[in-house]
């Protein structure tokens, strides 16, 4: 009986001690995609196939997919499998694009972060038509660190030749997302 009492009290104390810091909820999605249309309007390239290296500034809004990460006790991990650039019309061919580099900019003032890079390279031999450009992360990237007011700022740079028609860009980010809310920190913070 005394052993049972000792064990019960010990377990109760252990649970209480462990529980004090663990009032939390966690949501996981192994495959979450955020697709955004009308990201940027891009003019047609000249009607001759010339090398180009333009840079386009894109803004991906993740506000509908993740909570406000500035709240006390709210944390998130976003590990993208790819960020895919396409066109709203869906019939714009990117067959002339040889490489696409998407550079995700750190939030203003985050000098500890270096820009995260995503890269697409055209397969060889080149297909005759390509309607989207999936850029894969270079190394491991946690996109949550790069969100500033729900927005991720992405600089896109191309090599090769551009579509010879005006097009409106779409962006799609797909990956695994984990969001953790620590009530204890929210209450005591």
């Amino acid at each position: 009986m005394k052993n049972a009492l000792t064990a019960a009290v010990a377990v109760a104390l252990a649970v209480s001690a462990a529980g004090c810091g663990q009032l939390e909820a966690e949501a996981n999605s192994k495959h979450l995609c955020v697709a955004q249309t009308n990201v940027a309007a891009i003019p047609a390239a000249p009607p001759v196939s010339v090398p180009f290296a333009p840079e386009v500034e894109l803004r991906l809004d993740l506000g509908d997919a993740v909570p406000n990460l500035n709240q006390e006790g709210v944390e998130a991990d976003i590990h993208p499998e790819a960020i895919t650039l396409g066109s709203v019309a869906g019939n714009v061919s990117f067959a002339g694009v040889e490489t696409l580099t998407l550079t995700v900019q750190p939030p203003t003032g985050r000098t500890d972060l270096t820009p995260a890079e995503f890269r697409y390279e055209r397969a060889t031999p080149a297909p005759s038509e390509i309607f989207s450009l999936p850029a894969k992360p270079v190394g491991s990237v946690d996109l949550a660190d790069y969100i500033e007011g729900d927005i991720v700022r992405i600089r896109a740079s191309f090599s090769g030749s551009a579509p010879q028609q005006a097009w409106t860009a779409t962006l799609e980010m797909c990956g695994a997302v984990r969001v953790n809310v620590d009530y204890w920190k929210k209450i005591t913070g």
Binding site: A12, V15, G19, A25, N28, K30, H31, C33
Partner: protein
Amino acid sequence: MPVVVLLAALLGAAEPPPGAAGPEPSPAAEHARAIPPEVVATAEEPRLKLLGVQLSVGAPEGAGVSAFVRPIPWLRIDGGGSWNYLSFGINGGITVMPWSGRITPTFRFGAGQFFDSDVRSELAGSFPDAFDPALRRFGYHFYTAQLGLELGNENGAQFFVRGGLAWLRSKLESTNFRNGDTTVTADDNDISATTPSVQLGLLLHLW
């Protein structure tokens, strides 16, 4: 007739004749005579009832009716059905009562499962319409660890209150929603939580 005589002889041999000195008492018999009357009285108290019914309400267990068995005085095992407004479920637990009395502290481990149900209408207005696909089949399982107190007759009716922690987990259906230019799709989702847990109810010791 000879049989009756034989039986009488045997009985006569088993009991010493009146006034005759009997065999020397054994040490065990001496010890038994030394036990104070109050201890003997305790040993003769009615045994604790083995089976009963538990009625409870709380979170995240919901409202429940369970049967329980108390195989040993300090341990009770229960299992039954429950309802949490959204769906029906099953649950069970093991309760340790370190000592007996009219006020008894307890420590309980519990577990349960609320089955999937369509909770869209029950939670209408609580979530954006975008979550409808995920709420079409919503259920969860949970584990609890609780400290508590039981008050009353442990061979009759007892009121109890318990509090502690609960661990919940739920799989969520795929969802797809659109807001202006943005579309979000999510597959293979789950949510888990560590939350406070409270429960109160009645124990009826029946058999």
